[in-house]
């Protein structure tokens, strides 16, 4: 699977925006510093992945889980990230559950609507028709 070199780097425009957003507007960032931070972030992804993967492998698992990542942060000496990550994970899981619930609801409505289509014989329609019939 051939990968272009830029595929292994995070998009600099997005990183630059993040850098700007967390600094006061009066503070500038040199172009060189921007590029270096973006590069550092890409390397961080690799480092974090390798750490989380080794946590998974120690538990004889082949899939990296969310909790492997949290454990890895501690091993990488980024304990301070643990709380914010756990919070984000909780919010994300709730969002995923809401999506599932919404999808399930939509499906239920779609199925119910199908049952009400004309031509379908059901008890309700029959009783209505028998009331309307005029002999």
């Amino acid at each position: 699977m051939a990968e272009k070199p830029e595929d292994l780097h995070l998009p600099t425009t997005i990183v630059t925006k993040m850098i700007k957003d967390c600094l006061p507007t009066t503070c500038k960032v040199s172009k060189e510093a921007n590029i270096a931070i973006a590069k550092a972030a890409s390397v961080f992804v690799l480092y974090a992945t390798a750490s989380a993967n080794s946590v998974a492998q120690k538990s004889s698992r082949k899939t990296i889980t969310g909790s492997d990542v949290v454990t890895a942060m501690g091993e990488m000496e980024f304990d301070k990230f643990v709380r914010p990550l756990e919070n984000s994970l909780a919010i994300w899981r709730r969002g995923q559950q809401e999506k599932k619930d919404l999808a399930a609801k939509k499906k239920a409505i779609a199925t119910a609507m199908k049952d009400d289509e004309p031509g379908t014989v059901d008890e309700d329609n029959q009783s209505v028709q028998s009331v309307i019939q005029i002999d």
């Binding site: 990968e3 595929d7 292994l8 780097h9 995070l10 998009p11 997005i14 990183v15 925006k17 993040m18 850098i19 967390c22 600094l23 006061p24 009066t26 503070c27 500038k28 960032v29 040199s30 060189e32 510093a33 270096a36 931070i37 590069k39 550092a40 972030a41 390397v43 961080f44 992804v45 690799l46 974090a48 992945t49 390798a50 989380a52 993967n53 492998q57 082949k62 899939t63 990296i64 889980t65 969310g66 492997d68 990542v69 949290v70 942060m73 990488m76 000496e77 980024f78 304990d79 301070k80 990230f81 709380r83 914010p84 990550l85 919070n87 984000s88 994970l89 919010i91 994300w92 899981r93």
Partner: protein, 133 residues
């Protein structure tokens, strides 16, 4: 969010406090369930790591989030180590040199030396070698 028990005055703790206590807009990456970095790209980078087999959806999300936190943390630290007007490459290199947790970046963000210092270093190494024989 309770803070870890450590001196509140050291620059790195203050920087982290800034990150975790910054008034958060609902769209801010710290609170939101959304991410700013593209998940697909992060996944590509993750897959390039040797020995990685399967990547769970939650882990992709968390690594992306952690990277966003990392970017903010590194940026704020660099601002504190340097002057408050501009963040320069040398500020980043200083952070990488001084913080244990940033050791993995030593080859990525090396401290830059002037060419003359480099020449001097080479001279000193040569002298050491000639002394051996």
């Amino acid at each position: 969010m309770t803070d870890a028990p450590s001196t509140p005055t050291s620059p790195d703790n203050a920087a982290l406090k800034m990150v975790s206590n910054t008034p958060i807009m609902s769209s801010s990456p710290l609170r939101s369930k959304d991410v700013l970095l593209p998940l697909a790209r992060v996944k590509t980078i993750m897959k390039s790591s040797p020995d990685v087999e399967n990547i769970g959806q939650e882990s992709l999300f968390l690594i992306t989030k952690a990277t966003e936190l990392f970017i903010m943390y590194l940026t704020k630290l660099s601002q504190r180590y340097g002057n408050d007007q501009e963040v320069e490459y040398s500020d980043l290199a200083a952070v990488v040199e001084r913080k244990d947790s940033m050791e993995f970046l030593q080859d990525i963000v090396p401290r830059k030396i002037k060419y003359q210092e480099f020449l001097k270093m080479m001279e000193e190494e040569k002298d050491e070698e000639t002394d051996l024989f």
